[in-house]
Symmetry: C2
Subunit: 222 residues, 2 copies
Amino acid sequence: MRMAELSARSGVPTATIKFYLREGLLPPGERLSATQAAYGEEHLRRLSLVRALIQVGRMPVATAREVLAAVDDETLDQHNRLGVAAWALPSPAPGLAAGEDDEAARTARRAVGTLMAELGWEEFGPGSPAYETLVGAVAALARLGYPCDAARLTRFARVAEELARTDLDLLEELESTAEQVEASVALTVLHEPVLLCLRRLAQAEESARRFPAPPERRAGPG
Amino acid sequence: MRMAELSARSGVPTATIKFYLREGLLPPGERLSATQAAYGEEHLRRLSLVRALIQVGRMPVATAREVLAAVDDETLDQHNRLGVAAWALPSPAPGLAAGEDDEAARTARRAVGTLMAELGWEEFGPGSPAYETLVGAVAALARLGYPCDAARLTRFARVAEELARTDLDLLEELESTAEQVEASVALTVLHEPVLLCLRRLAQAEESARRFPAPPERRAGPG
């Protein structure tokens, strides 16, 4: 297909597609003439992934390029391609990983270390974006007077394990490593808002159930 | 305590505290002289909350002011204070709520509507940030070729319900409505990175378990 059709089918303006091509986020099309190129289904799919990373994952262009390089790196085995792509994803809350070193931060680091040891999780240790942001979030909770104790952390971790199994089940159905790596990145980034939005909706329900509106207000709107 | 102590205990620079005071995010201290004011424990707690909203929730100052106004609005009953504060929280992925109107978006809207009806969730309907972002995320997944079917959405929703119950248990232990509203905002914002980081760590573990590194690479680092 030509650029115009790629734009129409993806919903991405041609100026943006040209920018992604220049930045190396999208591989060049097959050149037909000095000014024309043809694009295939793989361009359409890659374009959706780029948009997911940048719009949903709020990823800087340079980071998206790094994640996509891992997705495409055929010199790595499957294990490492998945790992490199996952590591390259930016933290869900970059401000938290900044690493203060007060009592709350030290306590949080010990708590996370204990949790990881108990769970036997050792793929992404200290220094990885996810680990450091987790430490920062637990420390921020403690500073606000809401300590995240071992029982609560473990409960969150069990929920996370269940979610991870669901995602990996989906990944295993895919045939090629390239598809699996692409899916792992896309599902990590796009299932996050699904989960967070459902949690916000569930909280509103649970809150309304436990703290109902006074009877005289229930009839009115809102 | 004086401004200097408030800064030392909170870890927030005095210039930032002065900015929050000017912007009305922090109530003024008790005036001691033309240039001195005294701050209490409630200032320290509010300062942590403001920092959580702005740094972790990435909230614009105007949005944080709106959330805090709901937290402080004693003319509302408990039900509405909790609801107004939760509604005011910005979407976890604002780019997604922009609302395209293609086939994927329409299908996603129907799927989310069906899910809400089946669950009996009706507090935050269409038009609320969480609902619209959920529709956008489900549509984005479909466009990428990863449709989020009813079974998967329901599984995510059950997980969300479990998390909401845990948070509300904690809220119910607090004594005043003011504390509950403050906690509901803080826990919504700060438990999100805890959950997302643990999910990323769990995925790395599950991925390593299912796609192990080839034996000759396992001995080496990383």
